[in-house]
């Protein structure tokens, strides 16, 4: 072989080796996380990357149900953090998680209204008012499911105007003043404080959402996945979550 060909072959081999070096505690980490974890996990990502500079954490955020579908259809991910157990159970039943899922945080619901509360909403009962523009998350999205449960507990039949695909989309519309009220998580109201106001839902009607996390069976970088989950469950990780409004389980 002449020298040019040798160089070419060497480049290929080197490239191949580098590409296959997934199985080491470094490299890229794909985390599929529920939309309500957007800010908390962003904070988690910075802290993690500071402590482990060889990592590059890539967050894939969306509604837990959408993420579940992606995983079941074979989309690559290392970790799945869901906003409810139902979605995690479905993934587990399909044999897609390795080991057990662990609850790493809890969240509760809150009524979100635009700043100034123009429609003068006070409680879940206002959700029955037809003249208001009310939004919920879609039924199969955890916050939509829990929101409906809360309304049922309060004995309210809501006059819904839109079912948003995820809690962030719902929040955006409330922030913009296009909706009068919606049910989101406490953490979401906190993350948008300044542009959104939160109204308490009394404990007897409120639902506690449990957030499970698990490493995935088909993870491209399983060692890194384990490290991430440990970090989330660690004191440091829990502190970050609490600062964003989550509660420790």
């Amino acid at each position: 072989m002449n020298s040019a060909a040798r160089l070419l072959v060497a480049t290929f081999v080197l490239g191949a080796v580098t590409a296959c070096s997934g199985s080491s505690v470094e490299g890229e980490l794909l985390v599929s996380a529920a939309a309500s974890l957007t800010d908390a996990f962003a904070g988690m990502e910075s802290a993690f990357e500071d402590a482990n500079p060889d990592f590059d954490v890539v967050l894939n955020l969306g509604s837990s149900s959408a993420l579940r579908e992606q995983i079941l259809e074979g989309a690559p991910a290392d970790v799945f953090a869901s906003a409810n157990s139902s979605n995690m159970d479905q993934v587990a039943e399909a044999g897609e998680i390795s080991g057990e899922a662990k609850i790493f945080a809890t969240n509760s619901l809150q009524i979100a209204v635009p700043t100034g509360n123009p429609a003068e909403v006070t409680s879940l009962e206002d959700f029955a008012r037809e003249e208001l523009l009310i939004g919920l998350c879609a039924e199969d999205v955890p916050c939509g499911d829990l929101g409906r449960q809360a309304l049922a507990k309060a004995g309210v039949i809501p006059s819904i105007d839109t079912n948003e695909p995820d809690v962030r989309a719902l929040l955006t519309k409330i922030e913009a003043g296009e909706l009068d009220a919606g049910i989101t998580y406490v953490t979401d109201v906190l993350s948008a404080s300044g542009s959104v106001e939160g109204l308490e839902i009394p404990a007897e009607m409120n639902i506690v959402a449990e957030y499970p996390i698990a490493t995935l069976a088909g993870a491209p970088n399983p060692d890194a996945a384990v490290v991430w989950v440990e970090f989330v469950l660690s004191e440091k990780g829990q502190a970050i979550l609490t600062s964003y409004g989550f509660r420790s389980p």
Partner: protein
Amino acid sequence: MKADGSLGQRTRRPPVLLVVLGSIGLAMFVVPFVGLLARVPWSDLPAVLASDVVTDALRLSMVTSLMATAIAVVVGIPLAWMMARLDFRGRPLVRGLVTLPLVLPPVVGGAALLFALGRRGLVGESLEQATGLLLPFSTWGVVVANTFVAMPFLVITVEGALRNLDQRYEGAAASLGASRWTVLRRVTLPMIGPSLVAGLVLTWARAFGEFGATITFAGNLQGRTQTLPLAVFVALESDRDTAVALSLVMVVVSLAVLVGLRERWWKAL
């Protein structure tokens, strides 16, 4: 013909490489549909198709897409005429603006509509105060979203056709005594007929398939704003069978329209 009935060397076979590449191209279109067909729950299909999720979505999709096309005709054709025939300053800018919805992600379009026509929007706020009309989260909102993303197709197609039209025909019609309206009705529009139809079909198809702007501006509520694309999106996470059935409906309706298009209108596309 040779003794065995073949034509031998007299008919040239098409170049093999072209056929191979073309077949790969064809496969890219065919395979996804085959995949969809494979997932159809054939035995449950009638029941699923009769469910109100599907019927509501289909009805909404048809009504809103047709309305959007109608609006596009009423305001889009005059706009196309202005762009093709009038010489005014800022014409390049107008052309850019008209083409923008084609380039922008539909969600961005939806957001823009919200900022303009939403309850706190630039125009929307005064509009609501004056008329009580609120577009977001209403079926009219869906129509507006569909029109916004689909009308450029009609405008661009008709403008192009008008530009290519030999204006001397209109002069001939005028010399024979036809008023401007008669010229438009009997000469100009018929002469751009094929392009007009092609533009209409493209417009309708785009409106029919619109998702991003609709969900951002009009929201998602069965029976009021949940068109077929939105219903598919939601159903994918909850009820796979319904999702596939909805997808099938969309494919069948779209195919019916497109295949039903006559050959000569395809040429104008």
